[in-house]
C-alpha cells in the first residue's frame, strides 16, 4: 500500500502557483508535512466543505489551478458537493481524496469506502471530466501532472495505507490562514478590499 505522506508530497512537489485547500484532520497534516505554504488553506473544522471551498476559489480565480486534498471521511460528509461541482464544471479544479478507509482522528473507525463505496464512480456520475481510483505509484505520477494541465473538474481517490503517523500541524488561527492566503494570492490590495 502507498504511504499518504509520500503521495501528498509528490502531488505538491511542483506546486508553484497552485492554490491548495486541505480537509480537516490527516490531509491538513499531510500538506503541512510537505511544506507549509501561504497558498495553502488547511481546514481545522467545517467538515464536508473542503471541495466547496475549492469550487469557490476555482470560480473566483479561473486562471489559476486549484487542488483540494481531503480525506475519505471528509468527502463522504459533503458528497452533494460533487454534484454541485459537476454542474458548474470548473476546468481548473482537481479534488483528490486520500483514502485510507478510516476516520483517522477519532480512533481509525472504518468509513464507507472500507465497505467498497466508490467515490470516483460517484464523481464520474456527477459530471466530473476525469475520475479514477488510483492505487499505484505510476497512477500518482500521472495525477501529479494532471493537476496542472488537464481540463477539469478532475477527481482522484488515492488508496493509501491506514497508518498512525505523527501529526504535523499547520497554524491554527483562522484569520491568519485566511489573511496570508489572500495576501499571497492578491497582493497588498487584499488587505484593503
Amino acid at each position: 500500500m502507498m504511504k499518504r505522506r509520500q503521495v501528498v508530497k509528490q502531488l505538491l512537489a511542483g506546486r508553484k502557483n497552485l492554490l491548495v485547500v486541505a480537509g480537516l484532520g490527516s490531509t491538513a497534516w499531510d500538506i503541512t508535512a510537505a511544506g507549509d505554504h501561504d497558498l495553502s488553506f488547511p481546514l481545522w473544522g467545517a467538515m464536508g466543505q473542503a471541495a466547496m471551498i475549492g469550487l469557490g476559489l476555482a470560480l473566483a480565480q479561473p486562471r489559476r489551478r486549484v487542488l483540494v486534498i481531503t480525506g475519505d471521511g471528509e468527502m463522504l460528509m459533503g458528497l452533494g458537493s460533487l454534484a454541485t461541482i459537476g454542474v458548474q464544471k470548473p476546468d481548473n479544479l482537481t479534488v483528490v481524496v486520500i483514502d485510507n478507509e478510516r476516520y483517522g482522528e477519532t480512533g481509525m473507525q472504518q468509513t464507507h469506502t472500507a465497505a467498497g463505496v466508490d467515490l470516483a464512480a460517484a464523481a464520474l456520475g456527477c459530471g466530473f471530466r476525469f475520475a479514477e481510483i488510483i492505487s499505484s505509484p505510476s497512477g500518482v505520477r500521472s495525477l501529479a501532472s494532471l493537476i496542472h494541465k488537464s481540463p477539469g473538474p478532475n477527481f482522484a481517490q488515492v488508496k493509501v495505507a491506514a497508518e498512525k503517523i505523527p501529526l504535523v500541524l499547520p497554524p491554527r488561527e483562522g484569520t491568519l490562514l485566511k489573511a496570508r492566503f489572500r495576501r499571497a494570492l492578491l497582493g497588498a490590495k487584499a488587505d484593503l478590499a
Binding site: Q49, I53, L55, G56, A60, T84
Partner: protein, 172 residues
C-alpha cells in the same frame, strides 16, 4: 418590486457569485441572477455548501451572496463556526417560513428558531420592517459584511413574501 431592488444592490456592491438553494420566495431574484452575465449563480444541493462556496470565493478575491429559506439556516450551523473563526465576510438573504400565516406546521420550529440560531453562531441578524425597507437593509448588510468582515443575515418576513397555501406556492 423587492427582488429587482435586491438584484440592483447586489450588482452595485460588486457581487459576482450567488449561491442558492431554491425557494419560492427567492424565485424572481434567482432568475435575475441567472440572467445577469456579470454574476455566476450556483445551485447547491444543501445550504451548507454555500458557506464553503462563499469562503472559497473570498479567498480568491470575489464577493458573493447566499440565498436560502429559513429551514436552510439549520443546515449551516457548524460551518458558521469557520466563518466566525476566520472572519469571512458573509451575506445571507433568508426568506422566512414558519413565521406569519404558515400553513405547514413542519416549517414552524426552524422558522421560529432562525434568528436565535444565527445569533448564537455570531451572525448579525437584520429584519426589514416592510417591503420598502428590504433594499436599504440589504444595502446596509452588504456594507457591514464587506467593510467590517462580518457575517450578516437579512430575514425577509413571510408577511412580505405572502405565500399562504400549497396551491399558492406551486402556482408561482
Amino acid at each position: 418590486m423587492w427582488p429587482e431592488e435586491i438584484h440592483r444592490e447586489l450588482k452595485a456592491a460588486g457581487i459576482r457569485i450567488v449561491g442558492y438553494v431554491p425557494d419560492a420566495g427567492h424565485k424572481r431574484l434567482i432568475e435575475l441572477c441567472h440572467g445577469d452575465k456579470a454574476m455566476r449563480a450556483v445551485v447547491l444541493s444543501t445550504e451548507e455548501e454555500g458557506i464553503g462556496l462563499a469562503a472559497g470565493a473570498w479567498l480568491g478575491g470575489e464577493r458573493s451572496v447566499l440565498l436560502m429559506q429559513s429551514s436552510g439556516v439549520g443546515n449551516v450551523i457548524n460551518v458558521l463556526g469557520m466563518v466566525k473563526e476566520c472572519r469571512f465576510p458573509l451575506v445571507t438573504l433568508v426568506t422566512m417560513r414558519g413565521q406569519e400565516g404558515e400553513f405547514n406546521p413542519w416549517q414552524v420550529p426552524m422558522g421560529q428558531a432562525t434568528r436565535g440560531v444565527l445569533e448564537a453562531m455570531g451572525t448579525v441578524v437584520q429584519a426589514p420592517k416592510d417591503e420598502k425597507d428590504i433594499a436599504p437593509t440589504v444595502n446596509a448588510a452588504l456594507r457591514l459584511a464587506y467593510n467590517s468582515y462580518a457575517s450578516v443575515a437579512v430575514l425577509i418576513p413571510q408577511r412580505i413574501i405572502g405565500i399562504k397555501s400549497f396551491q399558492d406556492q406551486t402556482s408561482r
